[in-house]
Subunit: 266 residues, 2 copies
DNA sequence: TCAATAGTGTCTCTTAGACACTATGAA
DNA sequence: TTCATAGTGTCTAAGAGACACTATTGA
């Protein structure tokens, strides 16, 4: 008998003990901007549990599907092919979070441009937009329909949305994520509007411009917006070279599974 | 027939479709300090796969066990009852990360005081310490045995350790996590040593003291260290009142499942 | 008195907020 | 010319690094 059997032989007889296992799902916070406020896309549940409440789009993770791929698949199914920033947020695993069965869900944040947000609404009629507001920093969030009515979220999804908003607020100023909410070309004013909408505060214009330009993430195009009745602003685009100034990656960081994680650094 | 059956009736007949599911595990980065460097506790694998390599302690999540409870259980089993900072890091779900079967693992970071680190080593003789070094910020990490030999980590555990170190570095200066690596009473010099060890850089003494004291996280005790052959330093302890200055919560944030997550805020 | 470290005063530099100013295009 | 917004110059305030200084203990 060999002191150590070969790895192949070991694997051949390995019997994956099958205890009862939780199911694994992904849930997506599809976040864009609507009328100067953060907005998310929700599905109104018509079945138990939590019938009548609004839930995040999600789906189970296939046995041969990487987590990031499952999130990308749900994003594709709901929002179409438009590429978007997609980032793992946090994993929720309370036992009773879904009364049907034990489901552990890995929450993802997807950032949609205005166009992608509209496209998702058009292609999946079941999706309903809701604007997100946080009473205080790190406080609970509330979600409202566009006509002002408060929406009740299913399961622990309000918690997930709160984590999403906190994460985005936290890294907005230290990474390039903000660009994911804007079209390819944008003005500095548009970028500032995005930051103000996400942070829920007004920002100082000269300071904001200085910071953004000093970061090295922006590339002036020499082109200008058109159709304004006032002085047109210059159009910028994300810099090709992330530039040495751009670092900081603070969150869980560029994912292991080669996920589409353009920013990241704090 | 009712338009909507009762929730109870629905739940009664709900049949949890059982497709093949990934297994769910937790893996812990048990992190402390050793000789002025970050150090982690590893188990040398004597079985396939990756026999001979070093792995993070972990375990499967029970069907009726919350994620945080599973992490706390593994922590208890390995490091004993000493309370420690425990925080969810990131979830790793590549398909081939474990050749035996599909395992999705939720990585946690546990911070151990010097005493807890030593206690864990004493109570679980299988545990081996390894010092962690990162060649560059956001670069890959390397783990070495105390006698200098490089240790190869099993599975994707090197990636997990890298995420742990990045997370800790990122929030060290904006939260109270640093206290979790120190005993109940400590001097400002000890706190600075902790920060320098984690960050891998030297810090400016007056600036560090100013910052820490201004944060409002520290409470002077009026007591002083003893046994020194030089001027003894005052002993501090974490403030009871987190103080309004202490905010920032940057990471996934205080967990939903009432986990022991003292800091958090980005 | 000396050695060694604790703890502080102060200067400078960087960065953000505030505010007022100039620039530019369309009506 | 006026209006509305783009874009800038400059002052001030807050905070960090640098450096030298004083304070306090045991040997």
């Amino acid at each position: 008998m060999n002191p150590i059997e070969s790895e192949a032989a070991f694997l051949a007889r390995y019997d994956p003990a099958d205890y009862a296992r939780p199911a694994i799902a992904v849930d997506l916070v599809l976040l864009g901007l609507s009328g100067g406020r953060p907005a998310i896309l929700l599905l109104k549940r018509d079945r138990h549990p939590h019938a009548g409440r609004h839930a995040l789009p999600g789906g189970f993770v296939g046995i041969d599907e990487p987590l990031d791929a499952a999130a990308a698949r749900v994003l594709r199914e709901k929002a179409g092919g438009a590429p978007a920033h997609l980032e793992q947020l946090y994993t929720f695993g309370a036992v009773e979070r879904d009364p049907r069965m034990r489901i552990v869900t890995v929450a993802y944040l997807a950032l949609l441009t205005e166009a992608a947000f509209a496209e998702a609404l058009a292609r999946a009629p079941a999706l309903q937009p809701g604007t997100v507001a946080a009473s205080s920093i790190d406080g609970p969030v509330t979600v409202h329909a566009l006509h002002g009515e408060a929406l009740a979220l299913a399961f622990d999804h309000a918690e997930i949305v709160a984590v999403a908003l906190r994460r985005l607020r936290g890294k907005l100023d230290y990474s390039e994520v903000g660009f994911a909410l804007l079209p390819e070309l944008f003005t500095l004013r548009q970028l500032q509007d995005v930051h103000e909408a996400i942070l829920g505060t007004r920002l100082n214009k000269p300071a904001f411009r200085r910071r953004m330009l000093d970061r090295g993430w922006l590339e002036p195009t020499g082109r200008f917006e058109t159709g304004t009745s006032y002085r047109p602003a210059e159009l910028y685009r994300p810099a090709r070279n992330p530039s040495p100034t751009a670092s900081t990656n603070s969150s869980p960081t560029s994912s292991p599974n080669s996920s589409p994680n353009p920013s990241q650094g704090d």
